[in-house]
Amino acid sequence: MGTGTYLDLLLSGLVVTLKTSLLAWIIALISGCVIGVMRTLPSRTASWIGFGYVEFFRNMPLLVQLFLWFFVLPELLPKSAGLWLKQLPNAPFWTAAIGIGFFMSARVAVQLQAGISSLPRGQKQAATALGLTTMQTYRYVLLPMAFRIILPPLTSEFLNTIKNTAVAITIGLVELTGEARSMQEFSFQVFEAFTAATVLYLIVNFIVATAMRFLERYVAIPGYIAGK
């Protein structure tokens, strides 16, 4: 095999990494947003559910969570559903995206909760006093500000999502680290393979970080200094 094919393999691994992490990130953002908001609601029940959710997904290693989704869940479902799950084409991909998505959602929820709580209490009161419903208050007043505030930590959580996809090699997902690893087994060019994978990760990191900095600048509010 020539070096060209090696690079092709690594690049296809990179594509899998990116696809998995994007889907996982979408799941993490949506459910993290719901849970994060729930934790800031005055309702005791809502904030307890939010608390339980976060504790559940934060207090188990990601690897264990992936095993639960991959090996245990199909067995606990009714037979036909379990069978269908197991025979799903691309099962490692879907499992990884969902498992990592929920794992990260707890972290997104914590960040968002902190972001919302950091807003002055008067903001919510002002919106309520104008007659906005709780939904509208979050949608138009609290969330737009909270997301701007937590954009930097969210960037690193997104980078964590990308890195965490490597854990999915344990359930057979052949992403970037997996490709490098498998090359080691049949080519002995370990050093080259790992170096190439490392460089690719660094490039992805750089691109994401740069893009997010542009986004930060794009959504920045004239005259507004965070924390003021």
Partner: protein, 243 residues
Amino acid sequence: MIEINHVNKWYGPSFQALKDCTTSVAKGEVVVVCGPSGSGKSTLIKCVNALEPIQGGDITLDGVKVNDPRTDLPKLRSRVGMVFQHFELFPHLRIVENLCLAQEKVLGRRHDDAVAKGMKLLDRVGLKDHAKKFPAELSGGQQQRVAIARALAMDPIAMLFDEPTSALDPEMISEVLDVMVDLAREGMTMMVVTHEMGFANKVADRVIFMDRGEIVEDAKKTDFFGQPRSDRAQKFLSKILQH
């Protein structure tokens, strides 16, 4: 217009913030609420539009019972304007968007109508040129005038003010008070928490003095400044008039 009857309120299980408060504000009347820090002025005013729930008594607004679970609170609140100590403009929205948001989402006005109304009110508070700016680009006094315009854009039947000038530098206080004086002279029903006794003297009909969650004194302006009956009110007045 605003009826407050034997209202009791607790924060948590043990701290009573309002003790059997009874008062009222008639249509077109301007009532100033004053009292030492922590006496419950903000709490009282927030109970009027149900930003804070009450545990005893009744509050009625234009004939609608505020503390009735069947009351449509968003609708009720949209009919009462409120102005806060720290302005509470929405920092991510331009000035004109701040004025339009609730008009569109709560009253269902069309965007063009909301903008037209908003511009008219900005003109009135003298800030038409700043419509496209963001709140953080305005001075405190300007922000507070925008906040008043935002409340007026909802065509409120009454206005509540919670220390609207106490976060402002001295030279900005009068520009806000001027707007409020105009409003009072036009016959707006107003309930104003403030320590600006000049303002009270000029436009208030009645003055309420609160201390430790109680309404200690509720008197005509002339009576209040003439001879406040309670010691506590006298002490308070002499303190803030010292300077």
